[in-house]
Symmetry: C3
Subunit: 452 residues, 3 copies
């Protein structure tokens, strides 16, 4: 899939995308970041999140927040902080048959501490496996419940003989804080574009180290150039993190004009974009346009109140124009929430393509303005200005057609995206035509109408 960013190379870009990317350098960089973050045991609170942010901070600047346990956030309360140092199950011979150090998914996320010797029958009530995929470890959590447990492969489970087992989970659930970070990039306008990704999942690559990585490199790309919108990248634990951020920024959310939740962007599946609750917000139309123009397989999904943090951003009190971009959709691929969502499951090229789609959407939003023609009565004389390639033969050059579409619809009531949609032409072609016409004083930007 080829995603067109703009008609002409951007002179302010570092040129990396245009020149180096055919070789896939950006995709490999994103994959490297995923690889570095992969081993860390993260949860909705705790040191794993902090260590992950340390790594991200090597690429982009972050502002961190620590919100104390017990802080009220809307209908919720920031939970105790969870940390885990080690966890194992030893057989009667003292051998670690299940070992947190091998894979942090082995411990039930947010598990209470335990150290006990148990018969197999009792132990099994605390073990979770996936019979259909005997070599995969499931990812399970016990947020907001007092429970302990281990996630194991079905093979491990079946090799456990009827015996006594020593179990140990060296975890702590204490007063502490919830950690999140923002990367805010001011633009010429205080209107904001929000990019949010959840950072609470442990060793799972697609969900959501892929989303984190795409967000980090989008921010890095924007750092290097001017932009109209201000951008706010959120690296937050799922649900409670979004709720906490919204509770602490309630007065500021009206600045958010468009938003995306990024997740599951590293696998090889087709793109899926879930619309915002509004359904036809500019972000929804921009994403649909970019995906359709790309020519690649993709699907637009209606909003539903289950999923990722768009649930909170699109709750009725906020109703923000925030959609969610995924490749494969959570719950629809067998590797989802298992140890098979690993580095083999994701792909540098897929990450790159996901980046390109996001980049094209942001570029579209940046350029999507509303113009008014300075000669609204009849067509202006394009030929005289050298803008029209006359063939004298009745056919029409696509560039000419783009000029005519922009002139015809630039009435202060149609954005460039409106014009692209109605004309069936790609946004960059329409935007380039508008720029050319504006440079000949045939268009001026309309005022308030563009602030939709």
């Amino acid at each position: 899939m080829k995603v067109a960013l703009s008609e002409t190379p951007d002179p302010t870009s570092e040129g990396e995308h245009a020149e180096d990317n055919p070789a896939g350098r950006l995709g490999r960089d994103m994959f490297s970041l995923v690889s570095e973050l992969y081993p860390i045991c993260r949860s909705i609170t705790g040191d794993g999140v902090r260590r992950s942010l340390d790594i991200i901070e090597r690429t982009i600047p972050l502002t961190r927040s620590e919100v104390p346990t017990g802080t009220g956030v809307f209908d919720w309360e920031v939970p105790k902080e969870w940390n885990v140092r080690d966890a194992w199950i030893k057989n009667a011979r003292g051998e670690r048959v299940v070992d947190f150090r091998t894979c942090n998914l082995h411990v039930l996320n947010y598990s209470a501490a335990i150290h006990a010797v148990l018969p197999l029958a009792e132990l099994r009530r605390h073990l979770f496996s996936i019979p259909e995929h005997p070599t995969w470890i499931p990812y399970r959590t016990s947020y907001y419940r007092d429970a302990w447990g281990f996630c194991v492969t079905q093979q491990q489970l079946e090799t456990l003989r009827d015996d006594e087992y020593e179990v140990m989970i060296d975890s702590s659930l204490t007063n502490g804080s919830l950690t999140y970070a923002e990367c805010y990039l001011p633009g010429t306008s205080t209107d904001e574009i929000l990019i949010s990704c959840h950072i609470c999942h442990p060793s799972l690559c697609n969900d959501n180290l892929s989303g984190i990585s795409v967000a980090v490199f989008l921010a890095r790309e924007l750092l290097g150039r001017g932009h109209r919108y201000s951008y706010r990248f959120l690296f937050i634990p799922g649900t409670i993190g979004a709720i906490t951020w919204l509770a602490h920024n309630q007065s500021r959310v009206e600045r958010i004009k468009h938003g995306l939740v990024l997740t599951c962007l590293g696998d090889r599946g087709a793109f899926h974009y879930k619309r915002s609750r509004r359904g036809a917000a500019e972000i929804d139309r921009a994403m649909a346009h970019v995906l359709r123009s790309s020519g690649g397989p993709h699907q637009i999904l209606e909003f539903s109140p289950y999923g990722y943090d768009e649930r909170q951003f699109c709750s009725p009190g906020f109703n923000l124009p925030v959609g969610c971009l995924m490749r494969s959709v959570w719950g629809t691929f067998p590797e989802y929430h298992t140890s098979a969502d690993n580095l083999q499951f994701i792909d540098p090229d897929a990450l790159q393509e996901s980046f390109d789609v996001c980049r094209a959407v942001l570029e579209l939003l940046e350029q999507n303005r509303t113009f008014r023609g300075t000669n609204p009565f009849c067509e202006p004389a394009l030929g005289r200005r050298g803008l029209y390639r006359s063939t004298g033969g009745g056919s029409v050059d696509p560039g000419n057609l783009a000029l005519l579409w922009v002139l015809n619809l630039a009435d202060g009531a149609h954005s460039l995206l409106d014009i692209a949609e109605r004309s069936g032409m790609a946004f960059p072609v329409i935007a380039a035509a508008a720029n050319e016409l504006a440079s000949h004083a045939l268009l001026v930007e309309a005022e308030s109408e563009s602030q939709r």
Copy 2:
């Protein structure tokens, strides 16, 4: 076809539907009422209507009206009252070759009186038959015209030899009155639901003893329990009855928030619902939702100004939200308006199913309210209240999903039917979720918005 009424059994119901109906008792009761009404010769006025109302009154309370001949009702006038005692054609040997006592369809409905001896050639100008169905008697009327005639089978017609015939119709057309009845069931609100059925057809089962019977048993069912809406069941002669009722209740029709004309509900065909003139009134959407949720074959028809009394209720001066529920549509089945629309043509199970669809629609309207979440900012913490079954595995329980849909759209602008339609979930599931949330004070009913 299974029609879901509600999630939980209604404690105020007599339990008949839930317990006895698998055996079809209600369907059999409705069929029995049809059987009892079947032999009576009805018309738009006269004693046949009164005798029919006597029978209906054994099941539900009625308020009767007698409107005198000559009363002006909008552009019309109540006609003279017609009654018929006997009618026959005798051959030269004095044998009744056509006999009203055998089937009341034999006499042209509203036929003038006659007693004469005629040659066959002249007689034949007063005989109506159906050549394609040689054993069926057609149903024909001569309202508002001075005419006499007999309806006969094609077989009867063909056995008539060229001879003299004595014809006698002992009918009277005199000053009298037009009779109709109402069953009014007050609810907690004065907003009304109107259920109307025509009672003017003689020995025809589907059109419309079936509609009468379903209406009677809907009223009986509502008698046994509380309800929000007030219900008005009309048992009226077609056209002139509706016009008369509307003329005498013009100031009261604004209370009618939803309405249904019931007819042709006993045959074995698929349901057909004809929308109101408004096209997207709540009754139209409710019926479409119930039929779609039922999974059974059905068709939604656009409004047209021909049909039953929806013609009058949907005339432009009233434009009431009144649709028409049928199984097979008038004029599309060969038995329509013939003696073949008899007790064999209808079916207790079909009547029961028709009742169930109406009952589900009324239940939907009763429960269709508009709520506002008390925690509109982010999702409330459902788990803490024991409302959320967390699997920790990312899949979502349908009950949880219904809770989330209601919370997301309960913004005072979406009714529960809106939420059911947008979520694609069945109304009873959404309504149950709303009730559960309201019982935890997470929802309150929105005020004026619900009065749509």
Copy 3:
């Protein structure tokens, strides 16, 4: 394809259409006009246009305008006037191998004058041909550029040997004027219907002598009878002519309630109607209704800013409700803009059919009014007035149904076209029903609502 004009013959018409047309006289008359105009060399200015108007004026009255070279018209300027008297290429033996007198397409339209002797290599840079169609001469123009050239068949091109050639184009480009004409037919209202056709193409029949001829005979037909709308027929050079007319009539265009650009109406292809920029203007709906009702093959095209003079009429400052009717679409048939667009390419029957479609659309617009029922509450008693044919059998006569549709929707908010569209019945049937009801005082025309 049969196009219904109205239910009853129009007593004010000359009867030609109804009586003579089965023999195709009107089609033959239109074809004759095309034949007479065919040999003339037209361009956007010059004597060819004037001679063409002389011929048109024998059939309908015209008001001519001559706009001097250099006159500013919006962003444009009226160009110098071009005339050509002769043009040829002679070979070394002095033989005319390319000769303007054979076909005026041989000279590049608006070519500068030249008289020179050139080697073949240099000459070829000024020759245009169509390799795929070796016997056709292309039609090319050099408006607004200083260039000279010849259009030749590919066969001619290939017979030219490497030699010296004498070329001569006896053309002049001088201060003069742009010529256009109007035929204005006042109606009872000052609201106008605009019919526009371009008159700048030389010997090309479909594009656009066909459009001219249909326009001329539509005007002639309207001359013979009364009409509600005023009609303005424009015979103008393409683009610059429309711009000039709009510039000189800017204050008057608000009177234009509907408009059509007519072109390519003589070939045997299916009809194509290109909507106005508004997309759902009354002219757009009227044309779609007439084409759909005709039962013939046709296609409705969305507006685009490329094409004929609808480009100017639909520029954003005017945004007039002007669509474009064609049979085959410019650029989609190989004969387009070549010498093969000749008298063999068009057809009297096709011209006649095009006329009939336009005539039916104009008739629809004339009759499309908005009524209000005088008995809005319930149906009026049609039978009493002899308006209703009661069969007593439940089926409905289409005439009755039309009466009921009109009564049901005649609420001051639905035009007759609205009623035709919603009922799915043909406009003339609905209009006849409305007339019948109005004659019984059951309808009155609604006031301002009809002025849409």
